[in-house]
């Protein structure tokens, strides 16, 4: 064990050094790690990999293929062992816990043995995190190249003391958190379903209640604070009290209910799918008559089923998030990003108009009435029965006509006639000296001055360029101005001085011992720069 701990410690320090070297640019804390050469580092990483792989192999031999149920059970066991702070123990029934614990301590029942075995197993599996974590670290360090363009920003984020205090990235912690969340997300998904039910009028009385509450908030915003307090008092605290101290006011449930509510039958938007509040409060069963094991098993099956369902819901909501982020991206970089200038301008002008209008008329409007009427009418219009009728009333052709008008407005009411960006491009027309002093032969049109310091000239190769001006292309996103031609820059003294070149000037040419060149300039135009793009595109 001691050996293991030692090797682990070494590994950690090597890894720490690696990570520090990779992302943090700060000297590693230990002087030992400082001396680690690249070769040592490589060996250390490789040995840690081998070790991790070996451990993983040993554990996998011990454990069978893990099913979701096993996984869940294992998690329950670990979480039970972790939460040994007695939070869930009922202080009114302390005597029972004490009895139970003394019994388990006294007799080594097979059940307890089994439990201990599982716990041991889970402790062992906890070790497999090394492998995953190492893999992750390795992945990060290979993903991040030395010349990472945003490396500085990344380093800043890594060095941020607030972030440093938090947990480091670990696949196991991530998976653990996911597990815990998944078991507890049931409430959240229930809430989501509840909201959908309210909006789609499948629970009409609930919808009307919600509207009434929202109207109250509209007229007096302090209800925004009062209603949650009311919920805590009467939705959580009072039911908990009733649960513990039943007021014995329960009546016999009738076998069949007669009669219907007018509101419900008038406003129902669909079948109210069976909705039972999730059984997330575990009843403490004091009934000694039933078989404890059976109850426990039934409970476990139910819990693991819920776990799977929650996992599916989580996945679905993540898919929804992905598609939402995609459409957000489309809006930010497309519609609002001047990708289509007509549309973005129209959007901006419409927004500005609305803004000004609201600003001007807002003091004259009773916003309480407007917002509550708006809410009610919105909810009424999205009622399934009314919505279909409305859709029939608003004809498809009319919609298309409206769309056409919109496109026409975008086409003719928005003018994109700003003067374009004007820049100049330059070329050097290079001539090579012949045998006679006045004998010059044309070499190339190039962007390089091709002075004696030019790398191409040092390599004794012609500079990159073309033989005719027609082959020259404008820079990307720019286009030539058809009304301008290539012009010779006659001020050779100035442009050579700007480039720190000091050679002889012969009219518009700059002459050195082998070559002479003159500068050509032409106007290029660009209406707009390229639109913004997300960094990952």
């Amino acid at each position: 064990m001691a050996e293991k701990a030692g090797s682990r410690g070494r590994r950690n320090s090597i890894l720490g050094g690696l990570m520090a070297r990779k992302y943090e640019n700060r000297p590693p804390p230990s002087s030992e790690a400082k001396k680690v050469s690249n070769r040592d580092l490589l060996q250390g990483v490789a040995s840690s990999f081998l070790e991790a792989a070996y451990q993983r192999f040993r554990i996998s031999k011990e454990t069978d293929v893990i099913t979701i149920d096993d996984d869940y059970e294992q998690f329950i066991q670990t979480s039970a062992s972790e939460s040994s702070d007695g939070f869930w123990k009922d202080e009114n029934f302390r005597q029972e816990y004490e009895q139970e614990s003394s019994a388990t301590a006294g007799s080594s029942t097979p059940d307890a043995n089994e439990k201990a075995g599982i716990y041991e197993k889970s402790k062992k599996t906890a070790r497999q995190e090394h492998f995953i974590d190492i893999l992750l670290d390795k992945m990060i360090s290979t993903i991040l190249p030395e010349d990472f363009p945003e490396r500085e920003q990344f380093t800043l984020r890594v060095n941020d003391p607030v972030r440093k205090k938090r947990q480091t990235l670990s696949a196991t912690i991530f998976a653990h958190n996911l597990k815990v969340l998944t078991t507890k997300l049931g409430i959240l998904f229930e809430l989501q379903d509840c909201v959908i039910r309210l909006i789609s009028w499948r629970n009409p009385s609930g919808t009307v209640t919600m509207l009434i509450l929202l109207t109250m908030i509209c007229f007096n915003p302090i209800y925004l604070a009062i209603i949650p307090l009311l919920y805590i008092l009467y939705g959580l605290i009072v039911p908990a009290y009733i649960h513990r101290h039943p007021p014995h006011r329960t009546f016999f449930l009738p076998r069949h209910t007669y009669g219907k509510s007018l509101i419900v039958s008038l406003a129902s938007g669909g079948k109210k799918t069976s909705w039972h509040p999730s059984d997330d409060i575990k009843e403490y069963d004091y009934n000694p008559g039933l078989d404890q094991d059976d109850i426990q098993r039934a409970h476990h099956i139910k819990q693991s089923m819920e776990f799977v369902v929650n996992l599916r819901d989580l996945q679905n909501s993540m898919s929804a998030m992905v598609s939402l982020s995609r459409s957000m991206e489309k809006f930010i970089f497309g519609t609002a990003g001047f990708k289509d200038e007509h549309r973005s301008t129209a959007l901006f002008l419409a927004g500005l108009g609305t803004l000004l209008l609201l600003w001007l008329i807002s003091p004259l409007i009773n916003w309480s009435i407007v917002s509550s009427v708006g809410l009610w009418s919105l909810m009424v219009t999205i009622h399934p029965k009314i919505r279909s009728k409305l859709a029939r009333a608003v004809k498809r052709e009319q919609m298309e006509k409206g769309k056409e008008v919109l496109i026409r407005a975008e086409r003719y009411d928005i003018l994109l006639d700003e003067p374009p960006d004007v820049r100049f491009i330059e070329l050097f027309e290079i001539y090579k000296r012949g045998l006679m002093p006045k004998d010059w032969t044309f070499l190339k049109y190039s962007s390089n001055v091709f002075d004696p310091q030019d790398p191409f000239r040092k390599a004794q190769t012609p500079p990159p360029g073309v033989d005719t001006l027609e082959e020259v292309q404008p820079p990307l996103t720019w286009s030539f101005d058809n009304n301008s031609k290539w012009e010779i820059d006659f001020d050779a003294a100035k442009w050579s001085r700007d480039r720190n070149l000091f050679h002889d000037v012969d009219s518009e040419f700059l002459v050195d011992d082998q070559f002479k060149r003159r500068r050509l300039v032409r106007k290029v135009l660009r209406y707009a720069g390229p639109a913004r793009k997300p960094s990952y595109k």
Partner: protein, 398 residues
């Protein structure tokens, strides 16, 4: 050839920042003066940064703006009926903001001076760069104002003179004075920010906004021809020859005007207008009589605008030139098409040319300022001139 497959793209001209050091080429007196000027330049630069909202911390100008608005509240006449407490609070906030504003500007100035003293003295290049910076910002501010009002220097005093009574009227009847000042403070302080400028540029893309603007300021370059100096005193034509005396035989001269016109037309076409006919020489010959005519040229411009999807069409904007115009420089006047116009020529006029001669398209920018004879990205409008000469019989000499 591998070079042909790869497109060769020329490089944009970069501004070469490496200039020769000015230290040794500048007279010491100039350097000394510039050195003395440096703190003022820095302070002015800081002020301009706030005015253009281009400082590092954008929240600061906003806070200054709020402080200014609060300080303007001081100008309200205390109204004790509204409430003693409200007035006291208002005044207190106003005074405090005013004090904070004054103190913060003083603090800035003092800190600039102190840091200059503590740091090593600036090089001449530093000073010149700051000066260029200040100059650039001032120029931008001037451009912003000029783009909105098209102001020339001489117009400014006229504008102040005209706007004073308007201000007085507004403050007396429409708005309270301090509210009016507040609006102006906000407007002036925000106007040079890039947000405000961008917003205005985007608004300018809307046809309706332009229409509204030209409704207030008058149509672009529109001038009824009587007022337009270039087109001339009520004339729609260009005079090519004021008076040309053409020798004709007596018989011809006696013909009625309509037939005489046909004869003259043939004569002028054959002999050419440019061929100078000396009136004295010809009229001395007694056997023939002479007719004096005025030769003019009609020039009608056909105008088009480029639309992103449709290309060049006659679909023009409501405030600009119409499809056919008589144009003289920036001034224009709506006109009918050449073919419609040729029917409506007065009786005493005769066409000299057989038909209208089209010229090349002249490509212009959005404001009908010529760019060149080729279509390019900078061209949004174009116009083509149709010309035809005509003449009119001024007098007949027997």
């Amino acid at each position: 050839m591998p070079e042909n497959t790869i497109l060769f793209r020329a490089r944009l001209v970069q501004k070469h920042g490496q200039q020769e050091s000015l230290t040794f080429t500048t007279a010491p007196q100039v350097s000394w003066t510039l050195h003395k000027l440096y703190p003022f330049l820095l302070i002015l630069d800081g002020f301009l940064n706030n005015l253009m909202w281009c400082c590092e911390d954008v929240c600061l100008p906003f806070i200054y703006l709020v402080l200014m608005i609060l300080a303007v509240n001081l100008s309200t006449t205390p109204n004790w009926q509204v409430g003693f407490l409200a007035t006291v609070i208002n005044t207190w906030f106003g005074l405090m903001s005013l004090a904070l504003l004054v103190l913060s500007s003083l603090y800035f100035i003092v800190s600039v001076l102190r840091e200059l003293r503590q740091d090593e003295p600036p090089t001449l290049d530093d000073i010149v760069v700051t000066m260029e910076n200040v100059n650039y910002k001032l120029d931008k501010i001037r451009q912003d104002v000029a783009a909105l009002f098209g102001l020339q220097r001489r117009n400014i005093s006229a504008l102040i003179l005209v706007s004073t009574p308007i201000h007085w009227a507004v403050t007396s009847y429409v708005y309270s004075a301090h509210r009016y000042i507040q609006c102006w403070v906000i407007g002036l302080f925000v106007f040079h920010s890039s947000w405000c400028q961008t917003t205005m540029r985007l608004i300018w893309r809307s046809v309706y906004a332009r229409q509204l603007w030209f409704l207030v300021c008058g149509r672009q370059g529109f001038a009824p021809y009587s007022a337009s100096s270039a087109i001339g005193e009520g004339r729609q034509y260009k005079i090519i020859k004021e008076a040309v005396s053409i020798p004709v035989s007596r018989d011809v001269a006696r013909l009625p005007d309509s037939q005489l016109g046909v004869q003259l037309r043939l004569h002028i076409k054959n002999s050419g207008v440019d061929e100078s006919i000396d009136p004295n020489l010809k009229s001395s010959e007694s056997t023939e009589s002479a007719v004096t005519v005025m030769i003019t040229g009609y020039e009608i411009d056909e105008n088009q605008r480029k639309w992103p999807l449709d290309g060049w069409t006659h679909n023009l904007l409501p405030y600009e030139r119409t499809k056919f115009t008589l144009t003289a420089g920036p001034c224009w006047q709506e006109w009918v098409s050449p073919w419609e116009f040729q029917e409506s020529l007065e009786k005493s006029w005769f066409w000299l040319d057989d038909g209208w001669t089209p010229h090349e398209w002249k490509y212009c920018d959005a404001n009908w300022v010529g760019v060149g004879s080729d279509d390019s990205l900078a061209c949004y409008t174009r116009s083509k001139c149709w010309t035809r000469r005509a003449f009119r019989i001024l007098k007949k000499v027997n």
